[in-house]
């Protein structure tokens, strides 16, 4: 009886999530299974390190601050770990989110103190590591500050010295490239395709503890397919 109930509820959850994410049920199921597999430390809860690993490996997002921020953006309940639905909804946004979804996500990521505005200090934090080769005769901090001013000029549409979500939206509408203006926090097309394909192809039955090995095979296969295409 209990198992029947849990299966039922699982099906409900899948249906529910499928509705929210607009992903086919099967893929939702696969995502959920993947979540379960990722949770090594504590069942049903994906901690920061494990999630960062995932971001790093499949979505090519490497910056520490940003990975942290993406984690927080996924973590709707702010409980420090990701629940299954957080994970599924978040990843689904990665995969098939609309531009607005992405704008919201990026804004959440960049708004370090979650006050609804991105201010200069936050930009500085985000951009300070992005000058790979700082010319020696100039103060690297100065250069970053100048860069912040440049970004501010582009993003701050209402000229109030801070970037609201509306500002951000209109800036992105003007130039789509500004979406990730403060750091890469979305997967690129290629990794999106690869991951999505992996999720689509992956049958639940074959999912075992050695899954990660076969998964990386899948990834490689997906990559190859991409390259051929």
């Amino acid at each position: 009886m209990a198992t029947k109930h849990s299966r039922q509820s699982k099906e409900q959850i899948i249906a529910n999530l499928s509705k929210i994410t607009k992903l086919p049920k099967e893929e939702v199921n696969h995502l959920m299974e993947r979540f379960n597999d990722l949770c090594r430390k504590e069942e049903g809860k994906l901690n920061r390190v494990e999630f960062r690993d995932e971001l790093n490996r499949f979505f090519n997002i490497t910056d520490d601050i940003l990975m942290d921020r993406v984690f927080r953006a996924f973590d709707k309940k702010s409980c420090g770990t990701l629940r299954q639905e957080d994970y599924v909804i978040g990843i689904a946004k990665f995969l098939n989110g609309t531009l607005d979804d992405h704008i919201q996500l990026c804004f959440d990521v960049y708004d370090l103190n979650n006050d609804g505005y991105i201010v200069r200090e936050e930009m500085f934090q985000l951009l300070k590591s992005c000058l790979v080769k700082a010319p020696t005769e100039e103060d690297p901090d100065e250069l970053v500050k100048e860069l912040v001013e440049i970004v501010m000029k582009k993003l701050d549409c209402d000229h109030d010295g801070r970037v609201s979500l509306a500002d951000f939206k209109s800036a992105v509408a003007e130039d789509k490239l500004m979406l990730e203006a403060l750091g890469k926090c979305l997967p690129d097309e290629k990794s999106k395709l690869t991951f999505h394909e992996m999720i689509r192809m992956f049958g639940g039955g074959r999912y075992t503890s050695t899954g990660s090995v076969s998964m990386s095979d899948q990834t490689r296969g997906g990559n190859r397919r991409n390259r051929l295409a």
Binding site: C130, V132, E146, L177, E180, A181, D188, E189
Partner: protein, 1072 residues
């Protein structure tokens, strides 16, 4: 000695002939001296007695008395030696008729001795002698001939000798004789070896001489400095040098020199500052084309000014030997090889400034150019990294310079006037316009075809753009500094910073030239193009968006092509991202505006990829998803790029092969102007190729073209009209245009009062070509096109006029139209245009005037306006088309003028001129002139004049032609010219009769008619009758009597009658 003589010695240009001489150069002098020395004392007694296989023979300046001496016999004509060769009994020396023959070195020695101070002359003469080009062959036989590659004749000879010695030891018979023979062979061998040594000595001597002449150039200097930089360092114990640097700012002139131009005049290449560990610690060195030497270094009074004087007179061949001489430390370090080599690596970040040297496509010129540029920048770069007190700005300049420099370097290697050449502006003369050359094609089918496709479109953008460079940083706009800062972020930032910088760059007005050039000048182009090679889609999109804008500038286009941007963009065309593809295609469309770029696109397979872009599925479906819109956009950009590329003939061919035509046909169904314009633009570029013309018709594109003629967009209308203009050479196409109702909008374009000259030119061109079909002429008549066209005769640019006049000429072939032209007042304007200079226009005008002159009323006006005289003077035009066309136009004028004979006579020198044109080698001119002469000869007085000018023999000379058009008019002219004096006899004498008979075998009825007429006239002379009869004229003539053409019947019958009468008379004479 053979090798040296052949290679090192400098022969004058006529080397292979017999007259090649040794040039009077230092090397040759040196070589001759060595040979002389050898001949005088190089050989031993034995060897000097060795008899040559063939004598050395040369023309000597010595006389018998010079040679005279004991042992030499003087005869009347010659002098010879008493000594003879042991076998052949030939004299060892003989001088006869100034020719010297010698058979031994001993004799040569003797001759040189006797020659005294003339011995050099003699030696020279003997080496230059025809048969002595390879003296060794003469001396020792063919087996020792100087050959290319390895020569082992000596080894074989040596083997032979040893074998014979062995054989000798075995057998005793004839031992004495044999040993003698071997002895001789030995002598030969030793002589050969000596000669070989001489050859070697001479070779090395000449090499030393040659190397002395090698001069320094900037490349060598750069190379040496680069090498020495690697052994520079602060530690005395491990480095050979402290520091080596170029002196002054880092400006490199186009020829690679760093020295100021006025110093370059003295041969200076650059100045070096070398810090040594010992000796005079700082060496100031001048690198001059003659070598390296010290200068006195910077003067104290003026900052940065060098004192170019030399403290000592030592000049060194290379930098190392100078340093060895000046710095003992350096010398010991170099010899001991105990120094450390430092590597200066490019420390640029991997992401943004990734060197894109990994292009796998075979890049040709661009690649090597770039490598050379890189090579050059190396030393400067190193320096700018090390000496940090220097401001950063100037060092950015070499990037620009290095790129442009290579372009001209080849032409002006050591240009002294560098400053001038930087600002030099070379504007190629624009070639003839599209439309005028189009006509030429029509007229001269022979060579016009190739010329046309070249001139039609290739040339337009080929001008060298004016180079404007800011020499000083004085008045740079603020944008410059802002852009420089952004480019800095591009260079030194990660992906995020790069994207920010790219987005901000686009906030500048990129259409403004200052911004475009600023991006280039601060080195932004390289970075942008490098970005295209990365994997970051967003960076690529951002970079392309900028490149797309700035590539509207001609200089930027060239720079992009020079930096290899096209290759990368062609690669991107295969990317999956549609944004990327369309941006790359659009940028290519901008860049491929000049020929080299178009070629690059083709050579890297770009055409095929661009054609693939055209393939988009639904075009005009009711609902467009963003996806579909995107693919339509890709197709549009592809069409834009193809439009640019289609200006080259080879690209057109490549596009056709890649299957562009059906895809273009599909896109032509689009409803969007921004799609249609590039598609029709491409089509009209390509339509000049016959294969496209056919395809455009068979693919049913005419209908769409006609439909778009009615568009409201003038540019689109213009391209459509232009496409029809180019395609309508074919009758079927013309008919299709009519059937789809295309004539009305064409005429409508004229009446719309548009001021767009290009549109007018295209529309009138289309009307011109369409009016070649009589059915179309009918329609144009109904549309009253003539009035509109006549209105366009004045106040229009020549491109329009050419087409208008062409159209009028075609329309005037229909008699009612001639009247219409007159009524519309077109005749005066036409006659007025006869005074022009545009040859395409002249061809059309003369034709139109000619057609109009068919009508007597028109002729009266033309006559009144003195039009015939103008036509006549055009016979003097250099262009054969104009000549021919003018001559054709003259015919109806003479026919229809009232007092034609008098009129013609009134042109001073006119008759002489037209007769002289019979010497032309152009068939069309000849035919036209013959036709004109036929008309002129109608007037008896004029006939007398042209007979005096020798028209008869000239016509007779032309009779051997196979060209039916010429035959027809030639026969006509001959027929007319028979009516004067003894011209008939003269034609007979000039052998014009028999060839004429052959004309009857032609298939052309017109040829038959005029030939029969000529034969009839000629047959009035009995001699000609005999010739004709002999040539078998009767049979074909009898056939022609049965022709339906009365004229032909009559003349044939008359001719037969004349022949028959002669026969009868003959018989009568015989029997009475």
């Amino acid at each position: 000695m053979g090798q040296t003589l052949r290679r090192a010695a400098q022969w004058t240009s006529a080397q292979d002939g017999s007259t090649g001489k040794l040039e009077f150069t230092a090397i040759n002098e040196e070589l001759l001296n060595m040979i002389l020395h050898f001949a005088e004392e190089g050989s031993s007694q034995e060897e000097s007695q060795l008899v040559f296989k063939k004598p050395l023979t040369w023309k000597t300046s010595l006389t018998k008395s010079d040679i005279e001496g004991p042992g030499y016999v003087v005869s009347y004509t010659s002098i010879y030696s008493e000594a003879t060769s042991p076998k052949g009994k030939a004299r060892l020396l003989e001088l006869k008729d100034g020719v010297m023959n010698i058979l031994t070195l001993g004799q040569a020695h003797y001759v040189l001795q006797k020659a005294g101070d003339k011995k050099m002359v003699e030696l020279r003469a003997s080496l230059e002698g025809k048969s002595n080009r390879d003296p060794i062959v003469n001396m020792l036989g063919d087996r020792f001939a100087t050959v290319e590659g390895s020569d082992n004749s000596i080894m074989r000879f040596h083997d032979e000798i040893t074998k014979e010695i062995e054989a000798l030891t075995k057998q005793t018979v004839n031992a004495e004789e044999k040993s003698k023979e071997i002895e001789e062979k030995r002598r030969m061998l030793s002589l050969r070896l000596k000669l070989l040594r001489l050859d070697e000595q001479m070779m090395s001597a000449s090499i030393i001489k040659i190397t002395n002449d090698v001069r320094l150039n900037p490349k060598i200097v750069d190379g040496e400095v680069m090498v020495l930089k690697k052994v520079c360092g602060p530690e005395k114990s491990i480095f050979a040098l402290d520091d080596i640097n170029f002196y002054g700012d880092n400006f490199i002139y186009q020829n690679g020199c760093r020295a100021a131009p006025w110093r370059q005049l003295n041969g200076d290449i650059c100045y070096l500052v070398i810090k040594c560990f010992d000796g005079p610690t700082t060496l100031n060195v001048t690198a001059n084309t003659s070598g390296y030497y010290l200068n006195k270094g910077p003067t104290n009074d003026k900052n940065g000014q060098l004192d170019y004087d030399r403290p000592d007179s030592d000049t060194y061949r290379d930098l190392v030997s100078l340093l060895k001489a000046k710095s003992p430390h350096f010398a010991t370090m170099i010899t001991q090889q105990e120094f450390t080599v430092t590597e200066h690596r490019d420390k640029d970040s991997g992401l943004s400034v990734a060197q894109h040297g990994q292009d796998d496509d075979g890049e040709h010129t661009n690649r090597s150019d770039r490598q050379r540029a890189n090579h050059k920048e190396q030393p400067v770069k190193d320096r700018s990294q090390k000496t940090q007190q220097k401001p950063k700005e100037p060092s950015l300049k070499w990037k620009i310079l290095a790129v442009e420099e290579d372009k001209q370097e080849r032409q002006e290697h050591q240009s002294k006037s560098t400053m001038d050449s930087i600002h030099k502006q070379r504007i190629k003369k624009r070639q003839q316009s599209v439309f005028s050359s189009e006509h030429r094609k029509n007229k001269e089918k022979t060579d016009g075809e190739e010329r046309f496709s070249e001139s039609s479109t290739e040339s337009e953008e080929e001008e060298e753009v004016i180079e404007r460079r800011h020499e000083a940083n004085a008045d740079l706009p603020t944008e410059y500094w802002q852009i420089q800062k952004l480019v800095k972020y591009l260079k030194g930032g990660n992906q995020t910073a790069t994207i920010i910088a790219l987005c901000s760059l686009r906030d500048f007005n990129l259409n403004q030239e200052t911004c475009q050039l600023a991006i280039r000048d601060v080195g932004g182009l390289e970075v942008l193009i490098n970005l295209l090679d990365t994997d970051e889609v967003k960076c690529k999109i951002g970079a392309l968006k900028i490149l797309k804008e700035i590539s509207r500038n001609g200089q930027i286009r060239r720079a992009i092509a020079d930096l290899g941007g096209l290759q990368t963009m062609v690669k991107i065309l295969r990317d999956q991202d549609k944004d990327l593809k369309s941006l790359a295609a659009e940028t290519i469309a901008n860049v491929a505006k000049f020929r080299r770029a178009r070629r690059t696109v083709r050579q890297h397979g770009g055409i095929k990829r661009l054609v693939n872009l055209l393939d988009c599925v639904q075009l005009n479906s009711a609902v467009m998803t963003p996806e579909m819109e995107m693919s339509v956009e890709v197709a549009r950009c592809g069409a834009l790029a193809l439009w640019s590329c289609s200006k080259s003939k080879k690209n057109k061919e490549a596009m056709r092969k890649a299957g562009a035509i059906p895809l273009l046909a599909k896109l032509l169904k689009s409803e969007h102007e921004n799609m249609l314009i590039p598609v029709v633009g491409t089509l009209q570029e390509c339509a000049s190729e016959p294969s496209y013309g056919l395809a455009i018709r068979t693919e049913g594109m005419i209908e769409d073209l006609v439909k778009n003629l009615k568009s409201s967009n003038t540019e689109l209308q213009m391209h459509c009209a232009s496409a029809i203009f180019k395609c309508a050479e074919e009758k079927e196409t013309r008919d299709l245009v009519r059937q789809y109702g295309g004539l009305d909008p064409l005429v409508g374009l004229l009446s719309s009062g548009t001021n767009d000259k290009q549109l007018l030119a295209a529309a009138t061109g289309a009307i011109w070509k369409c009016s070649i079909s009589p059915e179309n002429v009918q329609r144009f008549q109904e549309l009253r096109a003539i009035d509109l066209l006549v209105a366009l005769l004045t106040d229009q640019p020549e491109e329009v006029q050419v087409n208008v006049v062409g159209a009028l000429g075609e329309l005037a072939k229909d008699p009612p139209n001639r009247q219409a032209i007159r009524k519309a007042g077109g005749i005066p304007s036409l006659v007025n245009l006869l005074t022009g200079t545009n040859q395409a226009l002249l061809v059309n005008v003369t034709m139109a005037v000619g057609e109009c002159a068919e009508e007597p009323d028109n002729m009266a006006i033309i006559d009144k306006l003195d039009g015939v005289r103008l036509l006549w003077s055009l016979l003097k035009n250099h262009n054969k088309d104009v000549q021919a066309s003018a001559a054709w136009a003259i015919c109806p004028c003479i026919e229809n003028a009232k007092d034609a004979g008098e009129m013609v006579r009134s042109f001073v020198g006119g008759l002489e001129l037209i007769v002289s044109l019979l010497k032309s080698d152009d068939k069309e001119v000849l035919a036209a002139v013959c036709a004109a002469i036929a008309n002129i000869a109608k007037d008896e007085e004029n006939l007398a004049v042209i007979t005096d000018h020798g028209v008869v023999p000239m016509l007779a000379r032309l009779t051997n032609t196979n060209d039916d058009k010429l035959r027809r008019h030639l026969a006509e002219a001959i027929a007319r010219c028979c009516n004067w004096g003894n011209n008939r006899t003269a034609f007979g004498k000039e052998r014009a009769v028999a060839p004429l008979v052959r004309y009857l075998k032609s298939k052309d009825e017109n040829v038959h008619r005029s030939t029969a007429r000529a034969l009839f006239q000629l047959s009035k002379n009995p001699e000609n009758c005999i010739t004709m009869h002999e040539a078998g004229v009767v049979k074909p003539l009898i056939k022609m009597v049965g022709s339906k053409d009365e004229d032909l019947q009559e003349s044939s019958a008359g001719c037969i009658g004349n022949i028959r009468r002669l026969a009868l008379a003959n018989e009568k004479a015989r029997y009475s």
